[in-house]
Symmetry: C2
Subunit: 158 residues, 2 copies
DNA sequence: GTCGCTGCAAAGTCTTTGCAGAGAG
DNA sequence: CTCTCTGCAAAGACTTTGCAGCGAC
């Protein structure tokens, strides 16, 4: 699967690509590439979690304590990234949204109502049915999301 | 399909049933049946729309202008109904939640990003796959929701 | 009568906005 | 240099809470 002679692992290459896309996006819109924006993208990339604006802000303060970053900038950047479809947001029953990098493959979510853990999955059959349904109704699908709520294996054992 | 000799249509009977369930629920928990609570249930039942707390509040002020109902009561009642699984809430990208009566059959949502219209649908194949997936992962499903975003037929023609 | 419910207003969250100085191009 | 970004603090939007009087049981 991986090339034995490269020093870059797949993950690094992927991030460089993502960063390029981001810079391109900014340039195309006459926007500027700033350290804050880079750090936010980096944090999103390096986190396996679905982040809230607040948790993302905390993460940045931890990992880049030298850089002062306001929560407002986090919100503004997330909005920008979402508009450009580079990140996707999930809304839950509780207040607030969680964000994830949209560059990842499309997937749906299993959400544990006990511990809050989010597990991702993809099911081809469901994806196919979704397309069949929208085609039938003449609905032009842009995106879709599915959440299944319940109690995960771990929490059931508690 | 319908009984030709009854004077009640199915809809009325359904509502009486719903109301009984609600009263039962209240009694079981030592709570009281108030006019405000009844009106809120009625409005939810008579609306085909997915209501926000605010739109529900407006509706009540319109239809029952004699009754003073505070927005706080709407929130409190919706929370109560949601806790008891009599209504379900949907969260969207924008802030705020929308509520619908849970007594209706389970269904998923097609959301038009142009005009905001929500269309409901059910697909047995998808429902089956969802159960298959959670069974496989040992996840105890309590509920699930699916939203497909895009542009509805109407808006495409504009 | 008792104890929960209600409206009101105040307090809380989470998010957005205005502004003046900082910084990217 | 110009024009966008940023942090800060203030403003907004939505929701929850405290309280005193009201009303269901």
């Amino acid at each position: 699967m991986s090339n034995l002679t490269t020093n870059f692992d797949d993950r690094t290459i992927e991030y460089q690509q993502l960063l390029e896309d981001f810079k391109m996006l900014l340039k195309k819109n006459g926007l500027k590439f700033t350290i804050q924006r880079e750090v936010i993208l980096e944090m999103l990339y390096n986190s396996d979690e679905h982040l809230t604006p607040e948790s993302l802000h905390h993460l940045i303060q931890e990992k880049h304590s030298n850089l002062k970053t306001g929560i407002a900038t986090v919100y503004r950047t997330l909005a920008l990234l979402e508009d450009s479809h580079m990140v996707t947001s999930l809304s839950f029953g509780a207040q607030g949204k969680k964000y994830e990098l949209g560059a990842k493959e499309h997937h749906d979510h299993l959400i544990c109502t006990e511990c809050g853990t989010i597990t991702e999955f993809v099911d081809e059959d469901i994806e196919k049915r979704q397309h069949a349904i929208t085609d039938e109704l003449g609905f032009q699908m842009s995106e879709h999301s599915m959440q299944i709520y319940g109690i995960c294996k771990n929490c059931q054992n508690k």
